[in-house]
Amino acid sequence: MIDNLITALGAEFVQLSLTPIVIGILGAVACALPGNFLLLRRQALIGDAISHVVLPGIVAAFLVTGTITAVPMMIGAGGAAIVAVILIEIVKRLGRVEPGAAMGLVFTTLFAAGVLFLEMTDTSSVHIDVQHALLGNLESLIWFDAEGWQSLLDPVALATLPPQLPRLAVVLLAIVLFITLFWKELKISTFDAAFAEAIGIRTRVLGFALVVVTAIAAVAAFDAVGSIIVIAMFVCPPAAARLMTNQLGRQIGWSVAFAVISAVLGYVFAGYGPGWFGSPYAVSAAGMIATISGIILLLACLFGPQRKRTGQRAEA
């Protein structure tokens, strides 16, 4: 048993599984953090809308630049997210419809346009397709040059880390910084927008900034882990955390913990789980991470100490 564990965590683990797990954790936490505020502001589905428009964004970037390098892709996706948010606002005002319908109209249209452009242009030579955008390629983000745990101290090997890892780390740092710097403003404007306005917080600007941060998180994470995890991590860990506590700080702590657990367990089950049932194949890690986050949310719905609304009687 111990031997198994040591081989399981040996050189092969560092090479094949360490980087995907770390990237999964970084992506999950980067999405869960802004997700807490979106959840409390009843904007949970903004994450859904944004992750759908990432596809047209990268397709547009590809059509303009003709290459699939990371930077134009991320700019395209980020731009598409901002365009989508503005379009949603326009449809909401013009049609005087509820935000949900406006969102549904905009993101399905943009997604459809993205698929259409993808089908009409010759992208067969490059690796860009709908499935990739949905599922990511977490399993393929391996660290070729790693020879074992000692490689973590080897600058030559470290230079060959998948680029998604440092990128996500920087984005996560930026998100943590944003939330720490504007902690008071975010908290007040989330719980009492009118009061926040009265004491001089520019709630609209802050709200837009939150959406931009969300878009950045979605765009950085989707490249590595795909849209499904992005949507799941925006909603599930914060929602489960909301059922655990009444304090924002603790809620964020819980959500980070849930995100990390989902990422680690999801990856492990996807990679090693089928082996326990005698199947040599792995299943989709992205799908499994989303599934685990759903199971955590289900448990929180059943047993979370703060699962009821204030004043709602607990059922016997």
Binding site: L39, R42, Q43, A44, L45, G47, D48, H52, V91, L94, G95, R96, V97, E98, G100, A101, A102, M103, G104, L105, T108, T109, F111, A112, A113, V115, L116, E119, M120, V130, Q131, L134, I228, I229, I231, A232, F234, V235, C236, A239, R242, L243, P274, Y281, A282, V283, S284, A286, G287, M288, I289, A290, T291, S293, G294, L297, C301, R307, K308, R309
Partner: protein, 406 residues
């Protein structure tokens, strides 16, 4: 045969039995989607259908695996439809359960259900890819829809189911309208609101599962959302709105399917969605009721009237006018000459405007409770809003106060 020829022949169902059946099926699907979507839109629960559609995927996977396990063809459409209906039904009940039992709001429940069910579905699809090689091909098509290589039996299934769903919408339209507008009142008339809500979502579910093959589960929600939003531009009444939504949905499905049949490489789902969006853009711009063009025109007319009025009042008071727009309007309507001096017509009009302004000012003092005062927009001549008797009375008070005969 050129694209246009083919498109036109396909539009009139002359391009072969199979594509005609697909087009009719897509049209019926759109009809049912627009009709059912209208009620969901009025109930403000448009995105619940997004959770429903994403929740179909595990059902598709499990149904496929079961049918293969029992030695059948895993791609048999009715089986996949039943499987997807069961799993999206569970998804729908989960959304309801989370919203009712916990403090989480509906949007959080929607996001959670759609992402988790979709993730689970993807896990199942990757399992299917590793079993029984070769036969799994095609399940990915449920993500974005595909009509290429569709069997006649499948097209018939979709067409029949679409017609049935349309019939259900028609049958349930009265209780659904009541619940959409006033759930409390509906409850007092003895309607079980929760059941009707579930029926409404059940219709969305039917549209979703029969649309999986043509439109795909990511975009099917567009057929439930875009037509009602578009229809809302054209009418303020429920009945017509549902009819228009159904018509737009039907046309989008039909035209989209025909277009995608005419250009073989185009995927059907996205085309249908973009056709529907085309209807939305046209409506948002040109609808006389709430369209962008109509309201821009209204705004422009109002602006002209305000500038004209203010210009005339300035003329009457012999004040200089500096505003370029005001000067242009006065010049165009022949009120002033090029050098800014009032013409005879301008003098008459400006005196009339000044008298009107004075009458309104007096009316506000002596008839403060008159309904015309409340409705006055600052522009309408007083003759249009008050009776001659009232105006005579106003003139009498004005002349008394200024000490001169009227």
């Amino acid at each position: 045969m050129s694209f246009l020829d083919y498109f036109i022949s396909a539009l009139f169902l002359q391009a072969g039995y199979n594509s005609a059946l697909v087009a009719v099926g897509a049209g019926l699907l759109g009809l049912a989607g627009g009709g059912a979507g209208a009620f969901i839109f009025l109930r403000k629960r448009a995105l619940v259908s997004d959770a429903i559609s994403h929740a179909t995927l595990p059902g598709v996977g499990i149904a496929f695996m079961l049918m293969v396990a029992f030695g059948g063809d895993g791609r048999w459409l009715p089986g996949l439809i039943i499987g997807s209906a069961i799993s999206s039904g569970i998804g729908l009940l989960m959304v309801e359960w989370i919203t009712r039992q916990t403090r989480l709001t509906e949007d959080a429940a929607i996001g959670a259900v759609l992402s988790v069910f979709f993730g689970l579905g993807i896990v199942l699809l990757t399992i299917i890819q590793t079993m029984s090689s070769g036969r799994q091909a095609g399940l990915e098509n449920f993500l974005l829809g595909s009509t290429a290589g569709m069997l006649i039996s499948e097209a018939t299934t979709i067409a029949i189911a679409g017609a049935l769903a349309t019939a259900f919408v028609f049958m349930l339209r009265r209780p659904m309208t009541l619940v959409a507008f006033d759930p409390e009142y509906a409850a007092t008339t003895g309607i079980n609101v929760r059941h009707i809500d579930l029926a409404m979502m059940g219709l969305a579910l039917i549209v979703t599962v029969i649309g999986l093959k043509i439109v795909g589960l990511i975009l099917i929600v567009a057929l439930l959302i875009i037509p009602p939003v578009t229809a809302r531009f054209w009418t303020n009444q429920v009945g017509p709105m549902i009819g228009i939504a159904a018509a737009i949905g039907g046309l989008s499905g039909y035209i989209g399917a025909v277009l995608s049949a005419a250009v073989a490489s185009l995927p059907t789902g996205p085309i249908i969605v973009l056709v529907a969006f085309g209807f939305f853009v046209i409506s948002a711009l040109f609808s006389p009721l709430r369209g962008g063009l109509a309201s821009a025109l209204r705004h422009w007319r109002f602006q002209r009237r305000v500038h004209r009025r203010q210009g005339l009042l300035a003329l009457a008071r012999r004040e200089p006018i500096y505003d370029g727009f005001t000067l242009r309007i006065l010049r165009q309507s022949g009120m002033i000459r090029r050098d800014g001096v009032a013409t005879l017509r301008g003098k008459t009009a400006s005196q009339k405007a000044a008298r009107d302004e004075a009458r309104w000012a007096m009316a506000r003092r002596i008839l403060p409770d008159d309904s015309a005062i409340e409705r006055y927009d600052g522009l309408t001549p007083i003759e249009d809003m008050m009776t001659p008797d009232q105006i005579d009375e106003i003139d009498r008070v004005i002349s008394e106060q200024s000490g001169a005969p009227a």
